[in-house]
């Protein structure tokens, strides 16, 4: 299997200063050659990437000890070896096809600036204390950062952090330097480096974060600075900013919300952002600006929760610890919050809102990403470099308490190794990848690189799988992210095909997750096992397919592909289709059980993990949905 790439290296503190890197980038002029990469008629190959990555330019990442800038992040993503902030040699077993660095807009570069500032200039005793803690060493630096984040959530940051003019000036400079580096690493056709930032909207510790992804290069993107949510603190303000960018430059931009699971009931509300009744215009605007949601990442998985989906035995992946409160853990989770936090429920809510308003605000596709704060886009369980640099490989990270600003709550093992985005683009370019996101022809995985195809249309049959069914899928149906056009009397049928990660585990099963709204406006969901391994032996009974089995050997942190199947394909027609009811269908592809990163850590560092630690799991892919509306495609 994949060779673990962490050397048994002693964690030396490398701690490069980044002053030099900034100089380089300033010296760089010119843009990447505007290579004309032809787009294919339809997407032929899935591209793998990370749409959510932080470098030392992010306030928190630097405070947590990250000393790697955008340049190292880009080199790592394209497959080169870099030395992590704690001195460990790191490399991806397989390069990514694209990456977007999404540093926090708020205070971009400010922790680094504070760290590098002459001590004499710091008058505020609180800031001086943090400054000294940061300089004392990595452990104290993490503690200082946790205090800063808590102060931010509680609105008690010292004035120095809140000077909007100085902050805007610094952001402008850091941003432009950053764009120059990204431009240098963008190689159309080979490796796409896109431009973006994170709009870290937080309302009282509740996560309403969005990543903002540009379609364009530095010539357009440098005409704007990233939007600071401190001053512009509602999603509508972000959409205004996006409109202004498009009007000013003629470019294009979209936003991707993430971690709805720690929004405490705010991410997918039945009202608009301000709590007022939702209008059709608001719903349309949201769907247009936010065509994709990040469903899985290091800070948990937001697909489904057992509380909402008690009959789904695979719900609850990556929810442990994340369902106890909001991001900052300054407010506990209440039962009524769950429905606005999980993606499956949001998709259902979207149908109900569409029935009422004529527009669906939650018609979004799905991607996974890492949200690494280490500059390292690591999504594999056996090569996990931690949420932040204070959590790079080491013996204490699995069992330690991780809650920002507290010593309670969430623990290291509850963090996932992170996900990736699969994108069905027509070329490996910024424009083609962005366009695929905009039309939702994308999917999420929790790390493994399974290939997943999903087409919906009227009249697909098993015979289609004997021909060039991909071509047929596009010609006679719609791919994931699309809306069914069935014609009069048509019934939906789906081509479903999944392939294991060529360097990973076999597949257990493919499920169709269906949600619909009935005539009375009631919301429903149902999960259909549509194809699975060893179908003759594993007969479904009572609507359930027996478990695939388990080959995980925890003593060796290994598994074997002696169960499951490498490829699962079928054509499935909805046996319960009712043409009167709005519905969506998405795929959930499950791998056989494999060890989680704490299991690899336990082996590597000879740890004794507590009984509560999840050491094996069935990793998965989630396709973007295909929607059905009695009125036909919107």
């Amino acid at each position: 299997m994949k060779a673990p790439l962490l050397g048994a290296a002693a964690a030396l503190l490398a701690g490069f200063s980044l002053a030099g890197c900034e100089k380089v980038s300033q010296a760089m002029t010119g843009t990447a050659p505007a290579a004309q990469i032809p787009e294919t008629a339809y997407p032929e190959r899935v591209l793998w990437g990370d749409l959510h990555l932080h470098t030392a330019n992010s306030v928190d990442a630097f405070g947590f000890g990250n000393r790697l800038g955008p340049e190292e992040a880009l080199r790592f993503a394209r497959g080169e070896e870099v030395t992590s902030s704690t001195g460990i040699k790191a490399r991806l077993a397989r390069p990514l096809d694209f990456v977007v660095i999404t540093d926090h807009a708020e205070g971009m570069g400010s922790t680094m600036a504070l760290y590098n500032a002459p001590r004499i200039m710091i008058r505020d005793p609180q800031v001086l204390r943090w400054y000294d803690m940061m300089h004392e060493g990595p452990r104290q630096s993490v503690a200082a950062m946790a205090e800063i984040l808590a102060a931010r959530a509680n609105n008690t940051l010292p004035p120095m952090f809140r000077d909007p003019k100085a902050s805007a000036e610094r952001t402008h400079n850091v941003w432009n330097t950053h764009l120059g580096v990204v431009e240098r690493y963008n190689e159309p056709g080979k490796f796409t480096a896109m431009m973006g930032f994170e709009y870290t909207l937080m309302q009282g510790g509740n996560n309403l974060h969005r990543n903002v992804i540009f379609r364009d290069g530095k010539d357009l993107v440098s005409q704007v600075d990233p939007l600071d949510p401190t001053n512009e603190a509602t999603p509508d303000k972000l959409w205004d900013y996006m409109d202004a960018y498009q009007a000013k430059t003629g470019g294009k931009v979209l936003a991707i919300p993430h971690n709805s699971n720690v929004s405490n009931g705010l991410m997918f509300m039945m009202t608009d952002g301000a709590g007022q009744p939702m209008t059709a215009a608001w719903a349309r605007r949201r769907a247009e600006k936010e065509p994709v949601v990040e469903i899985t990442q290091i800070k948990g998985d937001s697909e489904a929760h057992p509380f909402l989906s008690p009959n789904d035995e695979f719900a609850g992946y990556g929810t442990a610890g994340w369902d106890i409160g909001n991001l900052m853990l300054n407010e506990a989770k209440k039962p009524e919050m769950f429905a606005a936090e999980y993606v499956r429920e949001a998709l259902k809510r979207g149908l109900a809102l569409e029935a009422k308003l004529g527009a669906n605000p939650y018609k979004f596709g799905l991607i996974g990403s890492t949200d690494s704060h280490t500059s390292l886009s690591t999504g594999d369980e056996n090569n996990f470099f931690g949420k932040h640099s204070g959590n790079e490989p080491g013996p204490t990270r699995a069992m330690g308490s991780q809650s920002l600003g507290t010593r309670l709550g969430r623990f290291g093992w509850q963090y996932l190794a992170g996900g990736y985005a699969g994108v069905w683009a027509k070329a490996n370019t910024r424009a083609a990848i962005w366009d695929a996101l905009a039309r939702r022809e994308v999917y999420a995985t929790t790390g493994p690189r399974m290939t997943v195809r999903f087409f919906g249309g009227a009249g697909f049959t098993a015979a289609d799988l004997k021909s060039d069914w991909v071509k047929a899928g596009y010609a006679r149906g719609v791919p994931m992210g699309g809306s069914l056009a069935l014609g009069a009397g048509g019934r939906p049928s789906f081509i479903v095909s999944a392939l294991k990660d060529p360097d990973g585990a076999n597949l257990d099963r493919v499920q169709v997750v269906k949600g619909w709204v009935d005539a009375a406006g009631k919301l429903h969901e149902k999960i259909f096992d549509v194809v699975w391994s060893d179908m003759e032996r594993r007969q479904a009974s009572g609507g359930k397919v027996p478990a695939v089995g388990d080959t995980v050997d925890l003593a060796r942190a290994s598994y074997t592909n002696s169960i499951g199947a490498p490829a699962l394909s079928t054509v499935w027609a909805d046996p319960e289709f009712d043409p009167r009811f709005r519905a969506f269908y998405y795929l959930r592809v499950l791998e056989i059980p494999t060890p989680t990163w704490p299991a690899y850590d336990a082996l590597r560092f000879k740890l004794k993990l507590g009984p509560e630690v999840i050491q094996k799991a069935q990793e998965r892919a989630y396709s973007s949905p295909i929607w059905y509306s009695p009125a036909g495609p919107a």
Partner: protein, 277 residues
Amino acid sequence: MKIWSRAGQVLREPLVHFLVAGAILYVLLAGRPPDAGDRRIVVDEAAVGQLAARFAQSFRRPPSPSELDGMIADHVRDQAYYREALRLGLDKDDEVVVRRMRNKMLALAASEAQVATPTDAQLQALIDESPARFAPGASYTLDQAYLGADDAAGRKRAVQALAQLRAGAEPTDVALPAPLPAHFTDQPASVLASTLGDGFVAALETASLQQWSGPIASGVGLHAVRVMRRTSPGAPRLADVRQAAENAWRARAAQQAQDAAYKRIVAGYDVVIEMPE
């Protein structure tokens, strides 16, 4: 009695410990001759100007006379403590100081290297050193039929399927459905490797042209493959890979500058390591 108890109190004061330790260090390090320059703390016009400018940068206004006096006094205090601490050698076993100094040295070395711009000759030399790193790798045009899992039953089926293909059957007659292209046109080896794994690509290198080969094992199972065209890359041309080469050159130049700077520095020292028995 009273005097003794007060003396005891005094001896428990950390400040006293500090002063006593300092005095001992001072005696131990008395070999360091005091430098006359070190004994003068001069805050000249330039230094005052710098203090005022830094203040203005932070607070967006010039300092008032009393604020400036305060900053100067603070600066003098810093210098007095700093120099005295150095004289006492207090920096020597302070890990934070040691790390700070190391980081400053690293930053210096890196910034020197990074202002440089590589010449074409330097870039060409970098490419010649490891052409494979910059070459796109071989490209393939091929037909592929997926034949299922790589197990005993699968192998048997695959052999039959290959016989059928060689007898003229259509790939769609024997292929099992999988989300894989049936044709790859001029695809670089790296793309094939990311789709099917390194083992598959290795097998392609020796596959005969224009005929069905296999079963070839990949990371996802077995395949029948007909390689139609194999294009071996020529040496990478600078014009095609300039950007990647420049990025690589810069990254390496920064690393080399750091390494070289360290070598220069450490060369000035005799390093003696005494391992414990």
